[in-house]
Amino acid sequence: MSMHIIASFEYSPFLEVTIKKLEEKEIKKENIIALPLDKRAETKHVQESIDLSAGKSRMDYAFIIGLILMLLGTIYGFQLTWGPVIWGLIGLVAGVAVGMTVEQFSNRHRRGKRKRLNQKTAEVFLAVKVPLEQKEMVEKILLENGALGIGHLN
Protein backbone atom coordinates (compact mmCIF):
# COMPACT_ATOMS: atom_id res chain seq x y z
CA MET A 1 0.00 0.00 0.00
CA SER A 2 1.46 3.32 -0.99
CA MET A 3 0.55 6.98 -0.68
CA HIS A 4 1.39 10.30 -2.30
CA ILE A 5 3.05 13.19 -0.58
CA ILE A 6 3.06 16.52 -2.41
CA ALA A 7 5.23 19.42 -1.32
CA SER A 8 5.91 22.90 -2.67
CA PHE A 9 9.39 24.42 -2.89
CA GLU A 10 11.28 27.47 -4.08
CA TYR A 11 14.13 27.05 -6.54
CA SER A 12 17.01 26.37 -4.18
CA PRO A 13 19.88 23.96 -3.60
CA PHE A 14 17.75 22.47 -0.77
CA LEU A 15 15.38 21.12 -3.36
CA GLU A 16 18.16 19.15 -5.05
CA VAL A 17 19.42 17.94 -1.68
CA THR A 18 15.90 16.78 -0.79
CA ILE A 19 15.57 14.75 -3.97
CA LYS A 20 18.98 13.13 -3.52
CA LYS A 21 18.17 12.27 0.10
CA LEU A 22 14.92 10.66 -0.96
CA GLU A 23 16.74 8.61 -3.57
CA GLU A 24 19.21 7.55 -0.93
CA LYS A 25 16.30 6.18 1.09
CA GLU A 26 15.59 3.95 -1.88
CA ILE A 27 12.64 5.81 -3.32
CA LYS A 28 12.78 5.15 -7.03
CA LYS A 29 13.28 7.92 -9.54
CA GLU A 30 9.96 7.06 -11.23
CA ASN A 31 8.18 7.69 -7.95
CA ILE A 32 9.44 11.26 -7.72
CA ILE A 33 7.86 13.86 -9.96
CA ALA A 34 9.06 17.46 -9.97
CA LEU A 35 6.84 20.04 -11.60
CA PRO A 36 8.45 23.48 -12.04
CA LEU A 37 5.80 26.15 -12.49
CA ASP A 38 5.88 28.73 -15.25
CA LYS A 39 5.68 32.10 -13.59
CA ARG A 40 2.54 34.10 -13.90
CA ALA A 41 2.60 36.81 -16.53
CA GLU A 42 0.06 38.75 -18.50
CA THR A 43 0.89 37.68 -22.04
CA LYS A 44 3.17 35.22 -23.71
CA HIS A 45 5.34 37.98 -25.09
CA VAL A 46 5.81 39.52 -21.66
CA GLN A 47 6.40 36.06 -20.24
CA GLU A 48 9.28 35.60 -22.62
CA SER A 49 10.88 38.94 -22.01
CA ILE A 50 10.59 38.61 -18.22
CA ASP A 51 12.08 35.15 -18.47
CA LEU A 52 15.05 36.56 -20.30
CA SER A 53 15.57 39.87 -18.59
CA ALA A 54 16.77 38.30 -15.36
CA GLY A 55 13.85 39.81 -13.50
CA LYS A 56 12.66 43.32 -14.12
CA SER A 57 14.98 45.65 -12.30
CA ARG A 58 13.31 48.14 -10.05
CA MET A 59 16.52 50.16 -9.96
CA ASP A 60 17.17 51.26 -13.57
CA TYR A 61 15.94 54.84 -13.14
CA ALA A 62 17.54 55.15 -9.70
CA PHE A 63 20.98 54.41 -11.15
CA ILE A 64 20.55 56.68 -14.17
CA ILE A 65 19.19 59.73 -12.35
CA GLY A 66 21.60 59.07 -9.46
CA LEU A 67 24.50 59.24 -11.90
CA ILE A 68 23.30 62.44 -13.57
CA LEU A 69 22.69 64.33 -10.32
CA MET A 70 25.94 63.04 -8.80
CA LEU A 71 27.81 64.39 -11.82
CA LEU A 72 26.10 67.79 -11.55
CA GLY A 73 26.77 67.85 -7.80
CA THR A 74 30.44 67.13 -8.41
CA ILE A 75 30.77 69.84 -11.08
CA TYR A 76 28.98 72.66 -9.26
CA GLY A 77 30.40 71.50 -5.93
CA PHE A 78 33.72 73.00 -7.02
CA GLN A 79 32.00 76.42 -6.89
CA LEU A 80 30.07 75.88 -3.67
CA THR A 81 31.25 76.00 -0.05
CA TRP A 82 30.92 72.31 0.78
CA GLY A 83 33.03 71.14 -2.14
CA PRO A 84 32.58 68.45 -4.81
CA VAL A 85 32.60 65.43 -2.47
CA ILE A 86 29.68 66.45 -0.28
CA TRP A 87 27.66 67.85 -3.20
CA GLY A 88 28.40 64.72 -5.23
CA LEU A 89 27.04 62.57 -2.42
CA ILE A 90 24.00 64.83 -2.02
CA GLY A 91 23.40 64.50 -5.77
CA LEU A 92 23.73 60.72 -5.53
CA VAL A 93 21.22 60.36 -2.69
CA ALA A 94 18.78 62.83 -4.27
CA GLY A 95 19.09 61.13 -7.67
CA VAL A 96 18.48 57.65 -6.29
CA ALA A 97 15.48 58.94 -4.34
CA VAL A 98 14.04 60.68 -7.42
CA GLY A 99 14.72 57.61 -9.55
CA MET A 100 12.92 55.31 -7.11
CA THR A 101 9.95 57.67 -7.03
CA VAL A 102 9.79 57.80 -10.82
CA GLU A 103 9.95 54.01 -10.95
CA GLN A 104 7.13 53.71 -8.42
CA PHE A 105 4.90 56.03 -10.45
CA SER A 106 5.74 54.66 -13.87
CA ASN A 107 4.90 51.14 -12.72
CA ARG A 108 1.97 52.00 -10.51
CA HIS A 109 -0.44 49.65 -12.26
CA ARG A 110 1.97 46.78 -11.88
CA ARG A 111 3.07 47.48 -8.35
CA GLY A 112 0.53 45.42 -6.45
CA LYS A 113 1.22 42.37 -8.55
CA ARG A 114 4.93 42.77 -8.25
CA LYS A 115 4.75 42.95 -4.46
CA ARG A 116 3.00 39.64 -4.38
CA LEU A 117 5.55 38.14 -6.75
CA ASN A 118 8.41 39.19 -4.53
CA GLN A 119 7.17 37.18 -1.57
CA LYS A 120 8.15 33.58 -1.01
CA THR A 121 6.13 31.62 -3.50
CA ALA A 122 5.83 28.02 -4.53
CA GLU A 123 7.95 27.61 -7.65
CA VAL A 124 8.20 23.83 -7.84
CA PHE A 125 5.83 21.06 -6.81
CA LEU A 126 7.33 17.76 -5.79
CA ALA A 127 5.16 14.64 -5.72
CA VAL A 128 6.57 11.53 -4.07
CA LYS A 129 4.92 8.11 -4.09
CA VAL A 130 5.95 6.26 -0.94
CA PRO A 131 5.02 3.06 0.94
CA LEU A 132 2.89 3.85 3.99
CA GLU A 133 5.57 2.90 6.50
CA GLN A 134 8.00 5.47 5.02
CA LYS A 135 5.55 8.36 5.28
CA GLU A 136 6.95 9.83 8.50
CA MET A 137 10.52 9.66 7.30
CA VAL A 138 9.79 11.29 3.92
CA GLU A 139 7.76 14.09 5.49
CA LYS A 140 10.59 14.75 7.91
CA ILE A 141 13.11 15.00 5.05
CA LEU A 142 10.85 17.35 3.10
CA LEU A 143 10.20 19.68 6.01
CA GLU A 144 13.80 19.75 7.15
CA ASN A 145 14.90 20.85 3.68
CA GLY A 146 12.75 23.87 3.17
CA ALA A 147 9.41 22.62 1.87
CA LEU A 148 6.98 25.53 2.02
CA GLY A 149 4.04 23.19 2.66
CA ILE A 150 3.15 19.53 2.31
CA GLY A 151 -0.01 17.51 1.79
CA HIS A 152 -0.71 13.82 1.44
CA LEU A 153 -3.23 11.53 -0.15
CA ASN A 154 -3.74 7.92 0.87
Binding site: P36, L52, A54, M59, F63, T74, T81, G83, P84, K129
Partner: protein, 270 residues
Protein backbone atom coordinates in the same frame (compact mmCIF):
# COMPACT_ATOMS: atom_id res chain seq x y z
CA UNK B 1 32.09 3.59 -38.33
CA UNK B 2 28.48 4.29 -37.49
CA UNK B 3 29.57 5.44 -34.09
CA UNK B 4 32.01 7.83 -35.69
CA UNK B 5 29.31 9.30 -37.90
CA UNK B 6 26.86 9.74 -35.08
CA UNK B 7 29.43 11.35 -32.84
CA UNK B 8 30.37 13.70 -35.63
CA UNK B 9 26.78 14.60 -36.15
CA UNK B 10 26.54 15.38 -32.47
CA UNK B 11 29.52 17.66 -32.77
CA UNK B 12 27.86 19.47 -35.60
CA UNK B 13 24.73 19.80 -33.54
CA UNK B 14 26.72 21.23 -30.65
CA UNK B 15 28.26 23.85 -32.88
CA UNK B 16 24.80 25.20 -33.61
CA UNK B 17 24.07 25.73 -29.95
CA UNK B 18 23.43 29.15 -28.56
CA UNK B 19 24.31 29.21 -24.93
CA UNK B 20 23.04 31.86 -22.57
CA UNK B 21 25.93 31.40 -20.21
CA UNK B 22 29.29 29.78 -19.86
CA UNK B 23 30.81 28.86 -16.57
CA UNK B 24 34.46 28.05 -16.11
CA UNK B 25 36.19 27.47 -12.81
CA UNK B 26 37.40 31.05 -12.40
CA UNK B 27 34.66 33.06 -14.03
CA UNK B 28 31.16 33.11 -15.46
CA UNK B 29 29.81 34.99 -18.43
CA UNK B 30 26.14 35.27 -19.29
CA UNK B 31 23.82 37.18 -21.54
CA UNK B 32 20.30 38.25 -20.73
CA UNK B 33 17.62 40.36 -22.35
CA UNK B 34 18.48 44.06 -22.09
CA UNK B 35 16.81 47.22 -23.24
CA UNK B 36 19.07 48.58 -26.06
CA UNK B 37 18.38 52.16 -24.94
CA UNK B 38 19.64 51.37 -21.45
CA UNK B 39 22.82 49.89 -22.90
CA UNK B 40 23.25 52.93 -25.16
CA UNK B 41 22.83 55.18 -22.12
CA UNK B 42 25.70 53.52 -20.28
CA UNK B 43 27.88 53.83 -23.40
CA UNK B 44 27.00 57.51 -23.43
CA UNK B 45 27.90 57.87 -19.75
CA UNK B 46 31.21 56.12 -20.27
CA UNK B 47 32.34 54.50 -23.55
CA UNK B 48 32.88 50.78 -23.08
CA UNK B 49 30.46 50.24 -20.23
CA UNK B 50 27.65 49.34 -22.62
CA UNK B 51 29.83 46.54 -24.00
CA UNK B 52 30.80 45.52 -20.49
CA UNK B 53 27.15 45.25 -19.54
CA UNK B 54 26.49 42.94 -22.47
CA UNK B 55 29.26 40.57 -21.44
CA UNK B 56 31.60 41.78 -24.16
CA UNK B 57 34.42 42.36 -21.69
CA UNK B 58 37.38 42.48 -24.05
CA UNK B 59 36.04 45.17 -26.37
CA UNK B 60 34.63 46.88 -23.30
CA UNK B 61 38.01 47.15 -21.60
CA UNK B 62 39.67 48.43 -24.78
CA UNK B 63 37.06 51.18 -25.06
CA UNK B 64 37.30 52.09 -21.39
CA UNK B 65 41.07 52.44 -21.59
CA UNK B 66 40.64 54.50 -24.76
CA UNK B 67 38.22 56.77 -22.91
CA UNK B 68 40.58 57.32 -19.98
CA UNK B 69 43.55 57.90 -22.26
CA UNK B 70 42.13 60.19 -24.95
CA UNK B 71 39.97 62.07 -22.49
CA UNK B 72 43.03 62.86 -20.37
CA UNK B 73 45.14 63.81 -23.39
CA UNK B 74 42.49 66.18 -24.74
CA UNK B 75 41.58 67.58 -21.28
CA UNK B 76 37.97 66.94 -22.21
CA UNK B 77 36.68 66.62 -18.63
CA UNK B 78 38.28 69.91 -17.63
CA UNK B 79 36.69 71.53 -20.68
CA UNK B 80 33.29 70.05 -19.77
CA UNK B 81 33.69 71.33 -16.23
CA UNK B 82 34.64 74.83 -17.39
CA UNK B 83 31.74 74.94 -19.86
CA UNK B 84 29.26 73.86 -17.21
CA UNK B 85 30.35 76.60 -14.81
CA UNK B 86 30.26 79.18 -17.63
CA UNK B 87 33.96 79.76 -18.35
CA UNK B 88 33.69 79.17 -22.11
CA UNK B 89 36.84 81.03 -23.20
CA UNK B 90 39.10 79.01 -20.90
CA UNK B 91 37.35 75.82 -22.04
CA UNK B 92 38.19 76.61 -25.65
CA UNK B 93 41.79 77.26 -24.71
CA UNK B 94 42.30 74.16 -22.67
CA UNK B 95 40.93 71.51 -25.03
CA UNK B 96 43.53 69.73 -27.20
CA UNK B 97 42.06 69.66 -30.69
CA UNK B 98 44.61 67.09 -31.82
CA UNK B 99 43.07 64.42 -29.59
CA UNK B 100 39.54 65.77 -29.36
CA UNK B 101 38.85 64.91 -33.01
CA UNK B 102 39.95 61.34 -32.37
CA UNK B 103 37.55 61.16 -29.45
CA UNK B 104 34.34 62.26 -31.21
CA UNK B 105 33.99 59.52 -33.88
CA UNK B 106 34.93 56.73 -31.49
CA UNK B 107 32.48 58.07 -28.89
CA UNK B 108 29.57 58.08 -31.31
CA UNK B 109 30.61 54.73 -32.78
CA UNK B 110 30.73 53.12 -29.34
CA UNK B 111 27.20 54.22 -28.53
CA UNK B 112 25.88 52.94 -31.86
CA UNK B 113 27.80 49.66 -31.61
CA UNK B 114 26.54 48.84 -28.12
CA UNK B 115 22.96 49.62 -29.22
CA UNK B 116 23.34 47.32 -32.21
CA UNK B 117 24.86 44.55 -30.10
CA UNK B 118 22.07 44.76 -27.54
CA UNK B 119 19.43 44.42 -30.25
CA UNK B 120 21.16 41.50 -31.92
CA UNK B 121 21.88 39.73 -28.65
CA UNK B 122 18.22 39.94 -27.68
CA UNK B 123 17.45 38.04 -30.85
CA UNK B 124 20.14 35.47 -30.11
CA UNK B 125 18.56 34.94 -26.70
CA UNK B 126 15.18 34.35 -28.33
CA UNK B 127 16.82 31.68 -30.49
CA UNK B 128 18.51 30.19 -27.49
CA UNK B 129 15.23 29.91 -25.59
CA UNK B 130 13.32 28.53 -28.58
CA UNK B 131 15.90 25.83 -29.23
CA UNK B 132 14.82 23.32 -26.61
CA UNK B 133 17.77 21.00 -27.19
CA UNK B 134 20.29 23.53 -25.95
CA UNK B 135 22.54 22.51 -23.13
CA UNK B 136 22.47 25.28 -20.62
CA UNK B 137 25.14 26.15 -18.15
CA UNK B 138 27.03 23.53 -16.14
CA UNK B 139 26.20 24.17 -12.49
CA UNK B 140 29.59 23.14 -11.14
CA UNK B 141 33.11 23.39 -12.50
CA UNK B 142 36.50 23.03 -10.90
CA UNK B 143 40.09 23.41 -12.01
CA UNK B 144 43.38 23.26 -10.12
CA UNK B 145 42.97 26.95 -9.29
CA UNK B 146 39.34 27.62 -8.59
CA UNK B 147 35.93 26.18 -7.82
CA UNK B 148 32.82 27.69 -9.35
CA UNK B 149 29.25 26.67 -8.65
CA UNK B 150 25.91 28.15 -9.54
CA UNK B 151 23.98 29.46 -6.52
CA UNK B 152 21.47 32.19 -5.88
CA UNK B 153 23.06 35.44 -4.73
CA UNK B 154 21.32 38.17 -2.79
CA UNK B 155 21.10 41.39 -4.89
CA UNK B 156 20.76 43.57 -1.80
CA UNK B 157 23.93 42.14 -0.25
CA UNK B 158 25.76 42.72 -3.52
CA UNK B 159 24.59 46.33 -3.88
CA UNK B 160 25.26 47.06 -0.19
CA UNK B 161 28.91 45.99 -0.41
CA UNK B 162 29.42 47.71 -3.75
CA UNK B 163 28.66 51.13 -2.25
CA UNK B 164 31.92 50.96 -0.27
CA UNK B 165 34.41 49.60 -2.81
CA UNK B 166 32.51 48.55 -5.93
CA UNK B 167 34.87 46.11 -7.71
CA UNK B 168 35.26 43.78 -4.73
CA UNK B 169 31.70 42.53 -5.21
CA UNK B 170 32.84 40.73 -8.37
CA UNK B 171 34.49 38.32 -5.93
CA UNK B 172 31.07 37.63 -4.40
CA UNK B 173 29.79 36.99 -7.93
CA UNK B 174 32.83 34.84 -8.75
CA UNK B 175 33.77 36.80 -11.87
CA UNK B 176 37.53 36.88 -11.98
CA UNK B 177 38.00 38.56 -15.35
CA UNK B 178 35.50 41.30 -14.60
CA UNK B 179 37.22 41.82 -11.26
CA UNK B 180 40.66 42.23 -12.83
CA UNK B 181 39.44 44.68 -15.48
CA UNK B 182 37.41 46.66 -12.97
CA UNK B 183 40.31 46.72 -10.50
CA UNK B 184 42.56 48.27 -13.16
CA UNK B 185 40.53 51.44 -13.56
CA UNK B 186 39.44 51.58 -9.95
CA UNK B 187 43.07 51.46 -8.90
CA UNK B 188 43.93 54.26 -11.34
CA UNK B 189 40.93 56.33 -10.22
CA UNK B 190 41.61 55.97 -6.49
CA UNK B 191 45.22 57.00 -7.09
CA UNK B 192 44.71 59.97 -9.41
CA UNK B 193 41.51 61.45 -7.95
CA UNK B 194 42.77 61.55 -4.32
CA UNK B 195 39.13 60.88 -3.53
CA UNK B 196 39.72 59.07 -0.23
CA UNK B 197 41.73 61.94 1.29
CA UNK B 198 39.33 64.50 -0.16
CA UNK B 199 36.40 62.66 1.42
CA UNK B 200 38.22 62.61 4.73
CA UNK B 201 38.86 66.37 4.68
CA UNK B 202 35.29 67.04 3.55
CA UNK B 203 33.90 65.04 6.42
CA UNK B 204 35.97 66.84 9.06
CA UNK B 205 34.90 70.16 7.55
CA UNK B 206 38.13 71.32 5.86
CA UNK B 207 36.47 71.97 2.50
CA UNK B 208 39.27 74.13 1.07
CA UNK B 209 41.87 71.42 1.63
CA UNK B 210 39.59 68.83 0.03
CA UNK B 211 39.04 71.01 -3.03
CA UNK B 212 42.76 71.56 -3.56
CA UNK B 213 43.26 67.79 -3.72
CA UNK B 214 40.66 67.31 -6.45
CA UNK B 215 41.20 67.91 -10.15
CA UNK B 216 38.04 68.14 -12.33
CA UNK B 217 39.81 66.18 -15.08
CA UNK B 218 39.90 63.06 -12.88
CA UNK B 219 36.97 63.63 -10.53
CA UNK B 220 34.51 63.84 -13.41
CA UNK B 221 35.22 60.20 -14.27
CA UNK B 222 34.15 59.07 -10.84
CA UNK B 223 30.32 59.36 -10.84
CA UNK B 224 29.96 57.32 -14.05
CA UNK B 225 32.38 54.61 -12.99
CA UNK B 226 30.94 54.41 -9.47
CA UNK B 227 27.31 54.18 -10.55
CA UNK B 228 28.08 51.81 -13.40
CA UNK B 229 29.92 49.34 -11.23
CA UNK B 230 27.02 49.21 -8.77
CA UNK B 231 24.53 48.87 -11.62
CA UNK B 232 26.59 46.13 -13.25
CA UNK B 233 26.88 44.22 -9.99
CA UNK B 234 23.11 44.42 -9.55
CA UNK B 235 22.44 43.26 -13.10
CA UNK B 236 24.89 40.38 -12.92
CA UNK B 237 23.42 39.20 -9.62
CA UNK B 238 19.93 39.11 -11.10
CA UNK B 239 21.30 37.33 -14.17
CA UNK B 240 22.99 34.74 -11.98
CA UNK B 241 19.77 34.04 -10.08
CA UNK B 242 17.76 33.68 -13.27
CA UNK B 243 20.39 31.33 -14.64
CA UNK B 244 20.13 29.21 -11.52
CA UNK B 245 16.37 28.90 -11.90
CA UNK B 246 16.57 28.06 -15.59
CA UNK B 247 19.23 25.40 -15.01
CA UNK B 248 17.40 23.76 -12.11
CA UNK B 249 14.10 23.82 -13.97
CA UNK B 250 15.65 22.12 -17.00
CA UNK B 251 17.30 19.47 -14.82
CA UNK B 252 14.05 18.72 -12.98
CA UNK B 253 12.05 18.52 -16.20
CA UNK B 254 14.60 16.22 -17.82
CA UNK B 255 15.12 13.89 -14.87
CA UNK B 256 12.03 13.85 -12.69
CA UNK B 257 9.07 13.71 -14.99
CA UNK B 258 9.31 10.08 -16.04
CA UNK B 259 6.82 8.64 -13.57
CA UNK B 260 3.05 8.95 -13.77
CA UNK B 261 0.45 10.04 -11.28
CA UNK B 262 -2.36 7.80 -12.50
CA UNK B 263 -2.72 6.06 -9.18
CA UNK B 264 -3.80 9.40 -7.72
CA UNK B 265 -6.88 9.41 -9.92
CA UNK B 266 -7.77 5.75 -10.38
CA UNK B 267 -8.05 4.85 -6.70
CA UNK B 268 -11.72 3.85 -6.87
CA UNK B 269 -11.19 1.46 -9.73
CA UNK B 270 -8.51 -0.49 -7.98
Amino acid sequence: MLLLITSRRNDKHNLRQRKMATQKSCTTNAISYKNPLLVAFWSLAFPGFGHFLLGSHLFGVVLVIFEFWINSLSSLNTAIYLSMVGDFELAKDIIEIKYFYVYIPLYIFTIWDSYRRAQEMNQEIQLSILNKENDLVTPFSMSILEVNYLRKKNPFTAVFWSFFLPPMVYIYLHRFITLVFSAIWWGALLYYTNITEATYYSLIGEFEKSRELLDPQWVLFLPSVYMFTIFDVHTKTMENNKLYEIELRKYLKDSYQNGDMDSLYFKQQR
